[in-house]
Assembly symmetry: C3
Homo-oligomer: 111 residues x 3
């Protein structure tokens, strides 16, 4: 048992082509996700044909990953906001259980 | 409860020296992991003596992280395919529970 | 069921401004975390006012993410070592359950 209290949250990772980054962060802003981190030196080989066959490992320009951690009640709005987009475009979304030290930092004053 | 249905998968992260990247992605291709993302602006201090002592933080050339998300039945082939390699070389492999929106995107037609 | 045995650990991710990277890695070194990986091509929008409003997506200089995986008994020392720091500075810390192939690589000889 840890003596430092941890609070359960949801970690959401969204991998999209760089041109769609703003769409994703706008959804997060609208839902008032408290913050997010963007990983830009990434490349990949995806399902559904984007970067078919052997990828160009040097072609890192087109992919970005957005990482955010939110209270569980914000997960559904994020998924609902991004699902139609992910059905039309390349991209992936993963949800994991995570814990944080300071839940107040992930739940802005609006809620 | 989320009203958007999520499907349980396994997230696998493999951190290796850059020269071994192709070996890892070849294993993933063979097992028909549906996709993966490669993180290249990373550096690290490892167990087992690779980058002994205080690392050179600017020396990011040698490490890469491969992230993939697969159905549970593909986890064992990936682990079996990479374990002998990881016993001979520097590197780390982590497995986490993750959920995805679209399980069909992670389970290509071969299976 | 996987036939390759996996061992439960804790994945800790710490996102901090670049100038504080050394503080975080010093805590990990002191606790004898066996290794860590540093992600440097990241940017972000945080809670609490750091990068207020719409972030500068090109301003990637200031953020770094440290990823480490440790046995559960090292989690509390890490959290205790970083909590006061994270209360005074911008930054986030997430803890997730992870599994590894080789627990000995994450539990150096000191313990």
């Amino acid at each position: 048992m840890s003596s430092v209290k941890l609070h359960p949250m949801k970690e959401v990772k969204i991998i999209i082509e760089g041109e769609h980054l703003r769409f994703v962060t706008d959804v997060l802003d609208r839902i008032k996700a408290s913050g997010y981190t963007i990983f830009s030196s990434i490349s990949g080989k995806g399902h559904g044909g984007f970067h078919e066959g052997h990828m160009m490992f040097n072609d890192t320009s087109s992919l970005q990953m957005v990482l955010t951690v939110v209270p569980e009640e914000k997960l559904d709005p994020i998924l609902s906001g991004l699902k139609p987009f992910l059905e039309r475009h390349s991209g992936s979304l993963f949800v994991l259980d995570a814990c944080v030290l300071r839940p107040d930092h992930f739940d802005p004053a609006d809620s």
